[in-house]
């Protein structure tokens, strides 16, 4: 008798709770006896009172507990998610806000961070991109100061060389001017100057090139991910191995959001996650950040972005696009140390890998050549048909090469303007996005993490103003595309 009344009382208290879909949560949240619930929560809290003196033990103890509540939940623990977690904790301290990172794959087998080429360059045309990657370079340079002497991402300061045909020459020169103004160091080279510096290159069809002289090159993205993840964890962010599958909605008449009819606002403050054993649990949050890479759209749709009405009818324009990277070796007359990362105007790129005669190359395909995105199979005929002819034309020595292997990864491709989507979603008061970087995300991860943490903790961008890269640009129709995308 008492049990049923209590259950009803409980239902009245949490009256307006609705589930988005018919997903059954574990019994935990539905109609639990309020007294039991109180006791359970108290019990959990008491366990935490006895705080071990050792920070390490304390963190381990926290990690054991499943976080039912947190201040910020981050979906996706790749470079973006980990960087956001690191900055949030860095700015508030170990005992500051509680940050939970939900990552479905602890091995990071398919995440783009681990599969990326790790290029660092400032040669963009959009101001924000240049500023972000300048900060990226600064962050990598001072990595040891932040994360201790063992943190190393193997930066190769070899520069980027962007080649341009006649048609793009003016743009390349304009871009270089802007980059220099903002603090990048590069120089525009004529055909002859390129030939002089890189005698192994055939540049007959090239008009000009732009060579990065400082802070450009490549690094090991896997190390960066490890450093960021360990750094965030050490500062007290909690990683849980689970897949974010849904949100719980709640009608909140008391919240007024501009552009939403009063009384209709449906808030989200609970995330449903699926544990590896299939069990579903929920995490209550104050803020949620979607940094799920190429799967961001999927999870955004669960928050009704793109499926709702009004502001929610705009979907997140982020798609999976498969990109191949091939490794090959060249035994004779191969260019050696003086090989920057070369990006051709045909959108083919290659660079040295290690010291031997090994190179890696890739290319952004034409729209009609877009490969299927069901798996990460590598199509070697694409190299033979599309990349190799361009490669040989650029570097005659690549006539005799042997393809050793290759891999592929997914770009989180922003079909609207091929740039990151950073900042709050206009409908929700507590949902932030950090995705859509379309192939230049890893170098921006430090800056994006800092920017999101500023938005949440300071209420505003404090360092680099990324307002123009927010979701609102889809509403006012101001695409922020790069004038040359690689």
């Amino acid at each position: 008798m008492f049990k049923t009344t209590a259950a009803r009382a409980c239902r009245i208290v949490s009256n307006s709770r609705k589930l988005h879909k018919t997903c059954r949560l574990s019994t935990e949240n539905q109609g639990e006896n309020p007294i039991r619930r109180t006791l359970r929560i108290l019990r959990d809290d008491i366990k935490l009172i006895k705080r071990p003196a050792n920070e390490e033990d304390y963190r381990r103890m926290l990690d054991r507990e499943f976080p039912r509540f947190c201040d910020v939940v981050i979906i996706g623990g790749g470079a973006m998610g980990s960087s956001i977690a690191y900055w949030l904790k860095e700015k508030t301290g170990v005992d500051g806000i509680r940050v939970v990172v939900v990552e479905e794959d602890n091995t990071y087998k398919t995440c783009s961070t681990a599969l990326s080429v790790g290029g660092l360059r400032q040669q963009f045309s959009l101001q924000e991109n240049i500023q972000m990657s300048l900060f990226g370079a600064e962050f990598l340079r001072t990595l040891k100061k932040r994360f201790g002497p063992d943190a190393d991402v193997n930066f190769h300061p070899n520069g980027y060389l962007l080649l341009s045909s006649e048609a793009g020459a003016q743009q390349l020169i304009d871009n270089s001017k802007l980059q220099t103004e903002l603090g990048a160091v590069n120089m525009v080279l004529t055909k002859n100057q390129i030939k002089e510096r890189f005698p192994w290159m055939d540049v007959d069809d090239v008009a000009v090139g732009c060579l990065g002289l400082e802070k450009e090159g490549w690094f090991d993205p896997w190390s960066l991910l490890t450093v960021l993840k360990n750094g965030a964890h050490k500062k007290g962010a909690q990683y849980i191995n689970a897949k974010a599958v849904d949100f719980v909605f709640q009608n909140r008449e008391d919240i007024i959001v501009e552009g939403v009819e009063q009384g209709n606002y449906e808030a989200i403050n609970e995330l449903v996650v699926e544990m590896p054993n299939g069990e579903r649990r929920t995490i209550q949050f104050a803020y949620c950040i979607i940094a799920a890479g190429c799967k961001s759209k999927e999870i955004a749709e669960k928050a009704r972005i793109g499926t709702g009405s009004g502001m929610l009818s705009l979907s997140l324009p982020v798609e999976k696009r498969k990109r191949y990277v091939y490794t090959f070796s060249c035994r004779e007359n191969a260019p050696t140390l003086n090989t920057p990362m070369v990006v051709d105007y045909t959108h083919m790129y290659f660079r040295r890998e290690g010291l031997g005669d090994t190179f890696i190359a890739g290319m952004s395909p034409e729209p009609e050549d877009e490969p299927p995105t069901d798996d990460l199979e590598v199509d070697y005929s694409y190299f033979d048909e599309k990349i190799w002819p361009v490669l040989v034309k650029r570097v005659p020595a690549f006539e005799c090469i042997k393809v050793n292997g290759g891999w592929s990864g997914f770009y989180e491709y922003n079909t609207y303007d091929m740039n990151g989507i950073i900042g709050p979603h206009p409908y929700y008061t507590n949902l932030y996005l950090a995705t859509g970087f379309s192939g230049h995300g890893i170098q921006q991860a430090p800056a994006v993490g800092r920017a999101i943490s500023e938005l949440i903790l300071d209420g505003n961008f404090q360092t680099i103003d990324l307002t123009r890269l927010g979701f609102d640009r889809f509403i006012v129709e101001k695409p922020m595309f790069e004038l040359r995308i690689v």
């Binding site: 005992d95 002289l213 952004s364 949440i456």
Partner: protein, 298 residues
């Protein structure tokens, strides 16, 4: 735990600009979003747009143009609730953080803290001062910078090295003068930081540079040096710089005239050795030496 101002965050988009959506007097959204704006979400296919449509330039879009709604409290007839008193534009995040971090007073922590403070102040002191370069010109400014920190420099057409004496006194012009052009810079054992290297930009013809014993030099510094002196440097000494790895050595090919390079021990590791070999291969004039030599500097 730090409480986040959850329900207050909806005031985050100030300034009223009605762009895509107009409001009627009843404050209702007139253009509904049910149909996505005409070309908004059509994918702009192809990353190959070399030059985008004419006139529209992403860099010219002002931040304000992205604001399309007036925050509730800025609308006519609306006002801040009295709770606003507790909400400040400027967050006191750092104060909160300080309050929440435990203070560690153990000797090792204090030592670490002190070392960090010292390093920070040293880095600030090595920063680029525009006034210094305006008064002295690049060459003399760089000379002052180096000599005041215990290094030595030599100019073309001057036979003597300039170095500060025990009391830190040295003899260099205090204003710009013609005819001072740096030939050699000796930074041996100086606590030189990456940030300090900015003072060495735009030197006309430095041929000789020693960073022997500058422990803070790492690959990023080498990256910067190879750019700064790419046109002129002939002699470079990188001994006793434990933080410079093979990757830094690998980009020394950018120093077009380099002839002599001193390294600790190029057999340090196979990668290191191989890098040196490759470097000598593409720079036929280069000689890499790794036997210790001493220089006398007056």
């Amino acid at each position: 735990m730090l409480k986040l101002k959850n329900s207050l965050s909806f005031i985050r988009l100030p300034v009223g600009r009605e762009c895509a959506c107009k409001y009627s007097s009843s404050n209702k959204l007139e253009i509904t979003f049910d149909k996505p704006p005409a070309n908004a979400l059509q994918s702009r296919e192809g990353p190959h747009t070399q030059v985008a449509e004419e006139k529209y330039e992403p860099n010219k879009v002002a931040t304000e143009e992205l604001r399309w709604r007036t925050p509730w409290h800025q609308k006519e007839g609306q006002y801040h609730s009295f709770l606003r008193v507790f909400y400040t534009e400027k967050n006191r995040r750092s104060t909160l953080q300080r309050l929440q971090t435990q203070i560690d007073l153990s000797p090792s922590a204090i030592k670490k803290w002190w070392a960090k403070k010292k390093e920070e102040s040293e880095i600030v002191q090595q920063a680029y001062l525009p006034e210094r370069n305006q008064i002295l010109g690049n060459e003399l400014a760089a000379a002052h910078f180096i000599v005041a920190r215990g290094g030595a420099v030599k100019f073309f057409n001057h036979d003597e090295w300039v170095k500060a004496d025990e009391r830190g006194k040295y003899d260099l012009p205090r204003f710009y003068e013609e005819g001072w052009e740096l030939q050699a810079i000796d930074c041996a054992d100086m606590p030189l930081y990456y940030e300090g290297l900015v003072n060495l930009y735009d030197l006309r013809n430095v041929e000789w540079l020693s960073l022997n014993g500058c422990e803070n030099m790492d690959d990023w510094c080498v990256d910067r040096i190879t750019n700064q002196f790419s046109h002129s440097l002939i002699y470079l000494d990188l001994r006793n710089c434990p933080n410079i790895s093979a990757r830094g050595i690998g980009c020394l090919y950018k120093l077009q005239k380099l002839k002599i390079l001193y390294l600790d021990d190029f057999m340090k590791s196979t990668v290191y050795e191989y890098t040196c070999l490759l470097l000598e291969e593409i720079m036929p004039n280069l000689e890499i030496r790794s036997n210790p030599v001493t220089f006398e500097i007056k």
